[in-house]
Structures are given as structure tokens and as C-alpha cells.
Amino acid sequence: MSALQLEGVGFTYPGAPAPALRRCSLRADGGAVTWLMGALGAGTSTALLVAAGLAPRHTGGERTGTVLTLGLDPATPSSATALGGRVALVLPSPATQLSGIAETVAQEVAFAPANLGWPRGRIHEGVAGALAALDIAHLAHRDPGTLSGGEMQRIVIAAMLVLQPELWLLDEPTSALDAAGRAILHRLMRSEAARGAAVVIASEDADGLAGVADRLVVFEEGRPVLDRRPDVLLRGGEVWAAGAGSTTIAELSRATGEAEPRPLTVEEGVARWTR
């Protein structure tokens, strides 16, 4: 059984002229990093909200098809309770994801475990581990509201990591992060997958994820149209046809009119162009 299963899912936001998802079928397994990419409006963010059950429960709208998150339909209220603490969701803007009642970073990261009734010892241990993993242990006693966007985003990620979730849903998590933060997140995604969690990330950051993801699913107009290993897809021309992009080096290669397969990294580009 996959950690996430969407079968023929359609979703239309209330008052929207067109569906955001059309007959979308997607599977994401534990132990792997699944990367969703698509142009604006292609449906990657909606797919994550549907997977979390927040669409339609919070957003309203109509959903068709079958969604199974960790074996449960996340849109039903009883599943919401059953899935509590097992699914992590990270959105692009950190400030709005903060709890609003924490006076220190440590309290912020402890928010969800405390809500779940964990014993104090387990909470403190988990918080210390999560802060260390995101390299923000030195911020433990700071007020989250006074920190930079990048630091806040690390706190949000740590606040999810502490739960040791079975499924990660990340929507453009790196837009607020600096280079060091991105590197930490990529390492974290691999270690979470190694732990057995399913990591699903929607992102345009091809440079960062080319070497991190196990699978690349390209969305176009509300459904996946390409689904293969990232290096295979990114070297070819189909990603461009589908309205998505590739790594910077591949873009450069394409712009100079070279033939496929394209180089993906700086090393490959240098190797090819300085022959």
C-alpha cells in the first residue's frame, strides 16, 4: 500500500471557472522522494492540499475520485483525527504557519507534540533533536516573531520533523530559505526517506532537487503527464513541452540549441563544453 494514492481525482475550488485537478492519478511510496513540478496553475499545490484533506475540508469545493492518505480518506473528520501528527505539511510562507502562541522557538517546535499529549520528556527530547537537525539549536530561546524568514521556515520544518511523520507534503518549502537552509532541507528529505517516510515535494527548484528526488512527476493542466526518474526527464525535451523547466545548465544547453540528452549540473556542463 502506498503512503499516498490519488486515483482519478478531480477537484474544483468554489467559484472557480475550471477544475484545478482533472482525473489526477498519483502514487507516492514510503522510502522515496517524489517531486512534483508544473507551471503555475498546473495543480501541484492543490494535489498536496487534497492529499492533506484540507481540500475540500477547509477550502470548500468539490472533489471526485479516490484519495487514500496512509490508507485513509483524509477528507472525512474521523480520518483527520486518525492522521493527526502523521502527515506533515510545509507551505511557502513561514510567518503564517507559526502557531501564534509561542514565545520561544522551543515552544513553537513543541506545539504539535504538546497538542498530541506526548509526555514532557519525549517532547523535550524530540524538540532538541529537531532543532539540531535544522541547525537552529542556538535559537531555542528566541522569539520566533523576531527572526528572519529563512530562520522561521527552518522552525516550521523542525516543528514538523519533531513528529517523525510518515508522509511529508512540502509546497515550495525553499522560497524563504537561504542556500544553507536549502542544503539542510535536501539532506533532511533524504534522511527522512531513508527512515521510511514518503516525501512529496512540489517545487520549481530543479537545480536543488535534480540530485535529491527519486521520481519526478510533471503536472500539466491539473494532471500528471510525465512520471520518471528526474535525470531522465530533465535531460530530455518533454519537460519543456509540458510547460515545466529543468536545471539552469540544461536551460543554458537548450538555449544554445544543443541536442539532447542535456547536461544537468555545472560539472557535466563544463565537461561537455570544454572538450
Binding site: 475550488y13 468554489p14 467559484g15 472557480a16 477547509h58 477550502t59 470548500g60 469545493g61 501564534g100
Partner: protein
């Protein structure tokens, strides 16, 4: 209490207090401390509006003195009337919003003057108290002076508040209104 309400209520209450403070700082003879209550009602129903108004007034009292807490009853009344207005598409246009606001102002003003007189013998908000003092100088009795000043202020204040909330909700994109079905009904969509 579901997570959406947990996110909405603090914002609605903060809106009450902050816009009220802004109006105060601008030195305007208005309260505009019920915009959050009305907005919460339009978005999520009168029960939520009552909560926003009541808790907001409690916190206002905590910060500025318990003497303000009895006026929480007025916030409750505003939420109920805003709920009535919302259920009848009362925010469909500026005219309708103003009309419903005036009605609410009438009820709120009457209630406010009763509370003002019974509990404080006419002394609370510096603005109204100034009007009361002037009217007394002109020979009006204390109850009459308190009632008149309360009513006039509340009529204008609630009319403006309803108009502001109506204009805001009408200007929301479909996507955002869709998350709040009651709001769509309130503006007649």
C-alpha cells in the same frame, strides 16, 4: 473548535481592537471597534461573531480596565444583528449595508446608553462624556443627555462599520469567498 475558527477568531478580535485604536489615534469621534465582530459574523455566522465580540471586549477590559466589560453585551447584539443582515443579503450594496448599520446603531445606541447610565451614571468614553456635559449645560437631564449622545454616535459608528465590512467582502476574489459560503450569501451571490 475547528482549526479555521482558531485562526479566524484571534484575527477578528485583533481587528476590533486595532482599528478601534487607530480611530482613537486619529482623534475621530467614532468607535469602529466592532468591524472584527461584524466580519467574523459575515464569514462564519453569528455564533462566531458573538464569541469574537465577547472575548474581544473581555480582553479590551483586561488591557484598559474592567469598566469596559459590560459593553460586551453590545458586541453580542451587533453580532446577532449582523447575522440577521447577512442571512438576508444585507451586505449586497452600500445602501443596504448602511441601512442595516443604522438599525444596528439604533439598538446598540439604546443599549449603550442604558449601560452607561445604570453602571456609570454617564461617564465612560471621553468623547460621549464631553457631549453629555455640553447637553447638561444646555439644561438637559442626565438620562436624556446620555441617551442622545450615545444614540447619535452609535448610529454613525455602526452604519460606517457595516458599510466597511460590506465593501470589503464584496471586493474579495471568488477563491477567497468560496472558503466562506456564508459570506457569499451575505453579499447576495
Amino acid at each position: 473548535m475547528n482549526a479555521r475558527l482558531l485562526a479566524l477568531l484571534p484575527a477578528a478580535i485583533a481587528i476590533n481592537l486595532v482599528i478601534g485604536g487607530l480611530v482613537n489615534a486619529l482623534g475621530l469621534p467614532l468607535y469602529l471597534d466592532s468591524i472584527g465582530t461584524i466580519l467574523a459574523t459575515v464569514l462564519a455566522g453569528p455564533a462566531v461573531g458573538v464569541l469574537a465580540g465577547a472575548i474581544g471586549q473581555l480582553l479590551f477590559g483586561l488591557i484598559n480596565g474592567y469598566q469596559w466589560i459590560p459593553f460586551g453585551l453590545i458586541q453580542v447584539v451587533i453580532a446577532l444583528l449582523a447575522g440577521l443582515a447577512a442571512s438576508r443579503a444585507g451586505f449586497r450594496g452600500t445602501g443596504r449595508s448602511l441601512a442595516w448599520g443604522l438599525l444596528t446603531g439604533l439598538v446598540a445606541g439604546a443599549l449603550s446608553s442604558v449601560i452607561s447610565y445604570v453602571l456609570f451614571k454617564g461617564v465612560t468614553a471621553t468623547g460621549t462624556t464631553a457631549v453629555v456635559t455640553v447637553l447638561r449645560q444646555l439644561g438637559w437631564s442626565l438620562p436624556a443627555a446620555v441617551t442622545a449622545s450615545s444614540l447619535a454616535l452609535d448610529l454613525v459608528d455602526k452604519a460606517v462599520a457595516f458599510a466597511v465590512v460590506g465593501a470589503l467582502v464584496r471586493s474579495l476574489p471568488n477563491r477567497l469567498i468560496g472558503r466562506f459560503p456564508r459570506a457569499a450569501r451575505a453579499v447576495g451571490r
